[in-house]
């Protein structure tokens, strides 16, 4: 009888220790950002680093955090050869300002281009803890529109192509920008 009660106690504690795992693991692939790679226009197979690139979404005041380790203003600019940009989960279009040489003392070097991305969205189930994620598909006919800024300083982006239309994972290059 004591043995059975002990067994029941263990069983009870075992079942009550199955605590709800309601926290979404950050390593779970959820709503992805769009990976943009920068290449050298004169040598298209070569990746090229940008200089002090800041990317601001239309209607936003702060830029996208491109360097998470940076402090204050430094986290909004990057000198790498790629950026990860979030897309809107409640709209099928997003417009970004790409500002090269942001904060440069020589205003002639600062160049702003606009890129507008069109896509379709699909909500996919992930798990109990994470809920759903949104995956995107860039519009096949008109995935992006490149325009110059209102200051007409010329486009620094020479050429851009779509490497892949479906945005599911953050490690797959979606857009290639040549400059």
């Amino acid at each position: 009888m004591k043995k059975i009660i002990a067994f029941l106690l263990i069983l009870g504690f075992a079942s009550s220790s199955c605590e709800p795992d309601d926290i979404c693991d950050p390593n779970t692939p959820t709503t992805p950002r769009m990976l943009i790679q920068f290449f050298d226009i004169s040598n298209p197979s070569l990746k090229k680093n940008v200089t002090n690139l800041k990317v601001i979404g239309e209607g936003m005041t702060d830029g996208v955090v491109l360097t998470p380790t940076g402090i204050d203003e430094a986290k909004y600019v990057t000198n790498e050869n790629n950026v990860l940009l979030p897309l809107k989960t409640d709209a099928d279009v997003v417009k970004y300002k790409f500002i090269l040489n942001y904060g440069n003392k020589n205003p002639l070097l600062v160049n702003e281009d606009n890129l507008e991305f069109k896509y379709t969205r699909e909500n996919a189930y992930v798990s109990r803890a994470c809920g759903f994620k949104t995956i995107f598909n860039l519009d096949l006919n008109n995935p992006f529109t490149l325009t110059d800024s209102s200051t007409s300083d010329g486009k620094w982006i020479q050429y851009a192509i779509v490497a892949q239309n479906n945005i599911t994972y953050e490690n797959e290059t979606i857009i290639k920008i040549f400059f």
């Binding site: 029941l8 009870g12 199955c18 309601d22 709503t31 936003m60 909500n123 189930y125 994470c130």
Partner: protein, 275 residues
Amino acid sequence: MKQSLKYSFSFCFLLSLLFVQAQEKTTTSTQQDVKITETKSTATAKKNTEKKSKTVQTDTLKPKTDRYGLIVGVDINKIARSLYDSDYKGIAFTGDYRLTKKYYLYGEIGNENVTIDDPQLNTTSKGSYLKVGFDYNGYTNWLDMENMITVGMRYGFSTFSEQLNSYEIYNPHPYFGQSPSIPSEETYNGLTASWAEVAAGINVKVFNNIYVGFSLQLKMLVTNSEPGNFENLYIPGFNRTYDGNFGAGFNYTVSYFIPIYKKKVAPTKTAPKKK
């Protein structure tokens, strides 16, 4: 934490019931004697003569009879939760039919309607379930005690539907702000699941033919029809699903024993008497 508190409380309560039972021992036996003599006069008359002859045969040893029948119970945990939890409606009936001295045929039938509010999801599962299996009573009863400490195996089937009421999109980089909860009316009908479970429980006879008991179950999903682009988060009868196939359950029952026939168990007696 809440769960373990609930279990420990129930456990203490049941242990206290055991003590009550131990103290009442003498009174219950006399009550039964009184009942026998009072109610079934013709049967008792026959019985008394039998008893006399037997007592002559076996000296002071009183012949022990095991009562066989059906213990039907209702899961009061589900009923109580239906009253205080507005997101839950459930009922379950259990049945233990005594096959042999130690083995019982077990059946359970129930219906549940549960709304679960997870941080990212709000779903409603509703459906019915059926469990069939057996219980082994490992408790050796003294005299005319009829308590049970059981270990059992069951197989459960459930048919249910799941409705996604609302969901949220997990966006680890909410640059444009976190999108609000999205209402949904998506219903997944005709879902089925089946599972095997191991159960351990106590069933204590608190007074004449009334039992109070509880059982804990560990379950393992065998089949589970998952809806497309979603998941079965709660299966009626199986309860909440976890990442693996395992689940757990808890029953708190009040049952009534319906006696059907009696068997004598004294070692000297050979022919079991049916009534």
